[in-house]
Point group: C2
Chain length 475, copies 2
């Protein structure tokens, strides 16, 4: 905590550097060697921001001003519904899920209404598996459900397919009042959802122009779901603003947390470490790893650099959870190839504690646990894992949250967004586009029989001839 009683984020990068135990770390000169590149990056980034780009940072202040509208709406509607369902995919799903899991009760949906402040249960429908989709609808009473359709363009096939089904269902069940069960989050002026919303009279929130899905959590995309489910969105934004300010104000790789983390990632990637593991030691941050994985993969996995040269760069994000994945992944991290860096995220003070009872009749193998707490065991395991990695000369670093609350989650989101932006600068690529998914979208249009895609359909079907298969024919 700092003097204002607010959560502090600390970066501990000891495990990335040369030390007595690990000759395999970076030398301080290597970090300083990036200083020129980083200064150019900072100038480029801040000028992009001032010219209205880098909206994830630029928009924070205006979001703060719009917050009362989101909060008022949320407080008004929350008591009227048993369920709140996000229809969205990619950033529209991962951000809301990550913040919800970080800040609400782990079994939020299972709680009696009073224990979740008479807030609705929370679901995110981020896939089009027909079995799961039907199973969700089987469970929910649409008359008691509010659906939040999130798509900037109204062009996202999965979300729009879900929307068309839900709209149809609501019309059948709720008659003329069906529009009250839909709130859309989309572009202010464009796209396919907007005219439908205006014509049919849905409540509407705006995704500001220019901001991409994976950077949209601190816009109505994420803020609405958070506010509906009772999260302190003001604190979330305060934390984000504080981190944003820190990163914009501080100069030099050792002072600027985004520059520092991007530099460590960049040096590791230059040395052939093509894997970045994100491993929080807190169940609440499990889906934050999914959010980070989208951010890192989609922003940095790029074919061309900014001069149009083929570079095929990108570090593959891997999600893990401590201590759980010590029993799944750590064997590989310790003994496998030296091809990855690991970021632990730890929480210094959990908001609850649990003591393990003492029982002197037990064998020493387990008796030592008695009288200690679960979090002491968790901290010991994290530390011991770090130590084992160091002995194996594997690089790791730590993001330490003094506590896990709305303010620190806001800080963390902005740190990871800024770090990604800096990594993109160091790699000299466009961090904010995703041209590699166009081919798949067009192929889907083609296979779904959309007009104008006939040639592509033919090409895919030609390609699609299976040449090599194996199955069991003996039956």
């Amino acid at each position: 905590m700092n003097d204002n009683g607010r959560s502090i984020i600390t970066l501990d990068y000891t495990g990335m550097m040369i030390s007595a135990q690990n000759s395999n770390g970076f030398a301080m000169e290597e970090l300083h060697g990036l200083q020129n590149l980083l200064e150019q990056a900072q100038i480029s980034i801040l000028s992009q921001r001032d010219s209205g780009k880098l909206d994830f940072s630029k928009l924070l202040t205006s979001m703060k001003a719009q917050l009362h509208e989101i909060i008022d709406y949320s407080n008004a509607v929350a008591p009227n519904y048993d369920n709140f369902v996000v229809l969205g995919i990619g950033g529209s799903a991962l951000g809301p899920l990550a913040v919800h899991q970080a800040l609400n009760h782990y079994y939020y949906n299972d709680l009696p209404p009073a224990e979740r402040g008479h807030r609705p249960r929370f679901y995110v429908m981020d896939n089009i598996d027909p079995v799961r989709f039907n199973e969700l609808l089987q469970m929910l009473d649409p008359r008691k459900t509010l659906f939040n359709v999130i798509s900037k363009s109204g062009n996202t096939s999965e979300t729009m397919a879900q929307f068309l089904i839900i709209r149809d269902t609501l019309r059948q069940v709720c008659g003329d009042s069906y529009a009250k069960h839909i709130v859309i989050t989309t572009d202010k002026e464009k796209g396919n959802l907007l005219p439908i919303a205006l014509q049919e009279g849905y409540q509407r929130f705006v995704i500001p122009a220019g901001i991409g899905g994976r950077f949209s959590e601190l816009t109505p995309v994420g803020l609405l779901a958070a506010a509906i489910c009772g999260i302190d969105v003001k604190q979330l934004l305060e934390g984000a603003l504080a981190m944003d300010q820190w990163i914009r104000d501080s100069k030099g790789v050792l002072s600027n947390p985004a520059q520092l983390r991007a530099s460590l990632a960049y040096l590791s990637y230059q040395k052939g470490k093509n894997i970045s593991v994100f491993m929080p030691y807190a169940d609440g941050l499990k889906t934050m790893a999914d959010w980070y994985a989208q951010m890192w993969a989609e922003s940095l996995g790029k074919r061309f650099d900014r001069q149009g040269r083929v570079v095929n760069v990108g570090q593959t994000p891997v999600k893990a959870l401590g201590v759980t994945d010590q029993h799944s992944q750590v064997q590989l991290y310790v003994e496998g190839p030296d091809d990855k860096i690991i970021t632990f995220v730890t929480v210094e003070k959990f908001k609850a504690t649990r003591e393990i009872p003492v029982d002197f009749d037990l064998p020493e193998d387990i008796q030592f646990l008695g009288g200690r707490t679960l979090e002491e065991l968790l901290f010991a395991e994290q530390k011991a894992t770090e130590y084992a990695l160091t002995l194996a000369k594997r690089q790791h670093q730590k993001i330490i949250l003094s506590s896990l609350d709305a303010y620190s989650v806001g800080q963390l989101l902005l740190l990871l967004e800024w770090e990604t932006a800096y990594m993109g600068e160091l790699l000299n690529i466009n961090t904010f586009d995703q041209p590699g998914v166009e081919e798949g979208k067009n192929g889907t249009y083609a296979l779904m029989g959309r007009k104008g895609y006939e040639t592509r359909k033919h090409d895919i079907e030609e390609y699609g001839k299976t040449l090599y298969i194996l199955n069991e024919k003996r039956d």
Copy 2:
């Protein structure tokens, strides 16, 4: 389906091989070139199996014989409890979770009791985060809950800590009858749980000697949880037995599915592809990706080969989910470095369908969806993603399940287990140990103050001096 109406698994490896679109694939000669190695591997593997090792295969028949005991117990106790909670970590958690999610209702716990056949809700407590632990206990009435403690050695710190807390709670709440709320799954003759179970009179199931956690799903570790929650465990084992038979009987890389998949993985690893993505296109298989990730990472990430030479091998598993992660990871897979292979797992026929309504008033951008089904959209997206990867010269393959049911899940589990065993043979390492986690375990003992670990504690604390940190001091 085959002639017996049973699900068939098909491997489509077209996308791994040289083709008109992808010059970057393997030549058939490369696969055939492994034939000698594979024949040696097969001899080694089958002789290990016959001598009582490779228990995941060896034990299937005896499990089938024990099944009535598990089923009878499950049917007897299931109606008496509202909740069934697994206390376990690693394989003890991932197997039960994967099979449950694959075969039960996606929102199983949210269903009214009648709709889940009056079977208990299902929870797996696979971490020691005190917040989540307390939140689970806050929600459950221990008097209506059956706890399944799973640990072969009774030495797993996390599970034993949970057990000690739960036992204490149950004693307080249920008095003398507390032992009825605990069922343990542990070794037949050894370990710390067994004497407690015998003395206090818990119901008990046996993990057969020799079988490691990640290969234990088709023992009482997984079968009990599955049976309690109403899964057809007979079909699960039938599918496993059929796959096991196929793999043991078939010779030659193009006939033996485990040899084929291991060979493709091995060739890719030899060519520098250190990442293996497992990407099912079915929500039910999402946690199967976690189970696979443990299997692949912990079995194959090894420092030494069987002659004791330092090799530091291992391909890092990455979990993804289609179509969801097309909006998160596919940008990287298509445009990033050529450092990974991708396995899609698809389901030919979902057990439900959902049509997207037709609405001729909509713009063409979304109108083309009308009249098609969600699964048609999902299939089109999978195919289009495959095509985009091929155009980008990235290698991928497919495991096709004709349907997703207990039989096919049994097949899939054994295919992946056998494939891992063959990959271990090709890499010439011990697939079945995990020496790299010992350091972390010992470090944990040391930091928790266990007797005999004082020197190590001192070493870790010395090491633990933080040398490089950054945090915000400006407040």
